[in-house]
Amino acid sequence: MALLEVKDLKVRVEEREILHGLTLTVNEGEVHAIMGPNGSGKSTLSHVIAGKPGYEVTDGQILFRGEDLLEMDPDERAAKGVFLAFQYPVEIPGVTTMNFLRTALNAQRKARGESELMVPDFLKKVREVSKSLNIPQDMLKRGVNVGFSGGEKKRNEVLQMALFEPSLCILDEMDSGLDIDALRIAADGVNALRSPGRAMVVITHYQRLLNYIVPDVVHVMSRGRVVKSGGKELALELEASGYAQFEDAA
């Protein structure tokens, strides 16, 4: 069974159709890249998979391990193992990162019928992961993302990914706003999480990110559909020839 199956998905936002019948299948262990010009519906797809309100699914299905994802609340999806790394992670003043991480992890465990992680085990794990991501301990005591740089915010997303151990990670424009060093640290963090049981969907506008996170499959999205799929070489092709050819095709 595929991990994620998106079948003929049609999505509207305020009366305007953004996705016009999108189909995508992702198996365990695979890394898929979704590339496309601005406005092609890449972020809409990621939001609909995560369950963000404001999107109306008019047709099609999203199955996660064969279960209907669209019937679940966002928190249920998270507990099942769906993780969206936000393009713009929000700032939450007054909620320390540490408190947030523990509350979220325990909420997911509770929903899965698992016991709460003991504090010492949790702290040990956070320390290990944050060290590997070059996240200073004092950042964890601050409000979630408050005063964080663009790179720090993205690393904080990767930190959560490492802690929550989701089986599907969707990275929405992880490279936006990052310089090359920040990008490398974040990408190294993501690569460390690649495993046979985990799939990733990397959404990006530029080929650059895919030099660091090398995909198994590349999809080109245009005007709300996947218009072409291929191997990693497709990304390089796009870099050379641009998206224009696909805009015509769509």
Partner: protein, 434 residues
């Protein structure tokens, strides 16, 4: 001229209230004369209503209607019930002074432990000699009726230089239903003293009762004082509290007010900075649900130069509840170099929730830095979605954001035990919500 006898909503004559209470009221003939005068003021004014500017948003005639007769003196059974409420609301390590239905309960209080550091008398004992305690600057009707009918209270005096080794906690417990309790207390804190005074209001099963409390606090120079008030009265109770605070020079005063109960409540605080170089921090949280009405009205009077005042107020309003914040900063003509700031924010958790914010600056000096800000709004959907996408169910995500919202005010409490206690009150309120 014919003068109609003032009647309450239930047809009882207002004057009966005083007549029926008279046997219960302590005081020398002078004190009784002062009480009569105060009651006449109350009779003349009646309960405050919306046409009185200061009470515009809290019309007690509409919300309360009438003042209920005094609660009976608590008997042994009542005191036993009160003991459980005291246990539930006591702050670890604090020395308790307990008032049950407006009567001091020595057997529930830590008078002996307190006596080593604090001069203590009941209002009842003090009023035999001194009618001054019944006098305050304001002629507000609720303060007048308090002066007329106060049955008891605590009178504390903390000598110059005393560093209290434990907080003093005054706990008001309501036992009797459909009755009222009038209390008046005085706290005099000497020069260079360090003290934490906590006031708690709670019910032990009582319903539909009324509390009218007045506290008169004077703080000397070079003191360091925390004044915390935690009001968690029964869901159908009324609590009206008036605080009069005078602050000396180079003193630090940290005030915190929490409202998490009562159908109708009003806290009115009048704080005068009367000595130069003092720092005042006044913070508060209203947690309101159902049809509760919670009013926090603060007047900070910069009477002298070179003082700093900071006010942070947060209201969380659910269902059809109504929160009122009125904050006035007065800067007198001589009070140059005053630095006064006030920030109030309301979080509306339902479409029918209501918040009224009325900040006022009255500045008569020309070299000052004063400002205020007020916001009202719902929880941020983008923050809620982020938390939900990380696995928090809706109510838990809301609770986390609400805690963060009130946290900005609660964080101002310096003492760890007290701060944790207050966070606990907020957490329990949020748990009851979900």
């Amino acid at each position: 001229m014919n003068v109609a006898v003032a009647k309450t909503g239930s047809g009882r004559a207002v004057s009966d209230l005083f007549a029926s209470a008279e046997g219960r009221l302590p005081g020398s003939p002078d004190v009784m004369a002062a009480r009569c005068e105060a009651f006449e003021t109350y009779e003349r004014l009646g309960l405050p209503h919306r046409r009185i500017e200061e009470w515009k948003y809290t019309d007690l005639r509409a919300l309360v209607g009438e003042v209920l007769p005094l609660a009976a003196v608590p008997d042994a059974t009542a005191l036993k019930r009160a003991a459980d409420a005291v246990k539930a609301h006591a702050i670890a390590g604090a020395r308790k002074l307990v008032l049950v239905d407006g009567v001091f309960a020595a057997e529930l209080s830590d008078v002996k432990a307190l006596a080593s550091e604090v001069g203590f008398k009941t209002l009842r004992e003090t009023l035999d000699k001194d009618a001054g305690l019944l006098k305050t600057a304001s002629t507000d009707a609720v303060i007048a009726v308090n002066a007329a009918l106060a049955t008891d209270g605590v009178v504390l005096s903390i000598a110059d230089g005393t560093q209290l080794s434990a907080p003093v906690q005054i706990i008001h417990v309501a036992i009797a239903a459909s009755a009222s309790a009038f209390t008046r207390s005085q706290v005099a804190i000497g020069k260079g003293a360090r003290a934490t005074i906590i006031e708690s209001f709670a019910a032990a099963g009582a319903a539909a009762y009324q509390v009218n409390d007045a506290v008169i606090v004077s703080i000397g120079d070079d003191a360091d004082v925390a004044h915390i008030r935690l009001m968690d009265d029964a869901a159908d109770a009324v609590n009206i509290t008036s605080q009069f605070v005078t602050v000396g020079a180079n003193t630090k005063l940290n005030v915190f007010n929490m409202t998490s109960g009562a159908a109708v409540s009003r806290l009115q605080g009048f704080i005068t900075l009367a000595g130069e170089g003092s720092q005042l921090s006044v913070n508060g949280v209203n947690l309101l649900k159902k049809t509760e009405h919670g009013d926090t009205t603060l007047v900070v009077d910069h009477a002298v130069p070179n003082c700093v005042s900071r006010e942070i107020f947060r209201a969380v309003i659910d269902d059809r509840a109504h929160s009122v914040f009125q904050g006035r900063i007065i800067v007198r003509p001589d009070a140059q170099k005053t630095d006064g700031k006030m920030m109030t924010r309301a979080l509306l958790l339902s479409d029918e929730a209501e918040a009224d914010n009325k900040p006022e600056l009255e500045i008569f000096a020309d070299d000052v830095s004063c400002g205020h800000g007020a916001t009202a709004g719902a929880l941020d959907d983008s923050l809620l979605f982020y938390l939900k996408a990380r696995g928090l169910p809706e109510k838990q995500a809301q609770a986390l954001l609400i805690q963060a919202f009130v946290g900005e005010a609660i964080e101002q409490i310096a003492d760890d035990t007290l701060r944790e206690h207050v966070i606990g009150i907020a957490e329990r309120w949020l748990e009851r919500r979900s």
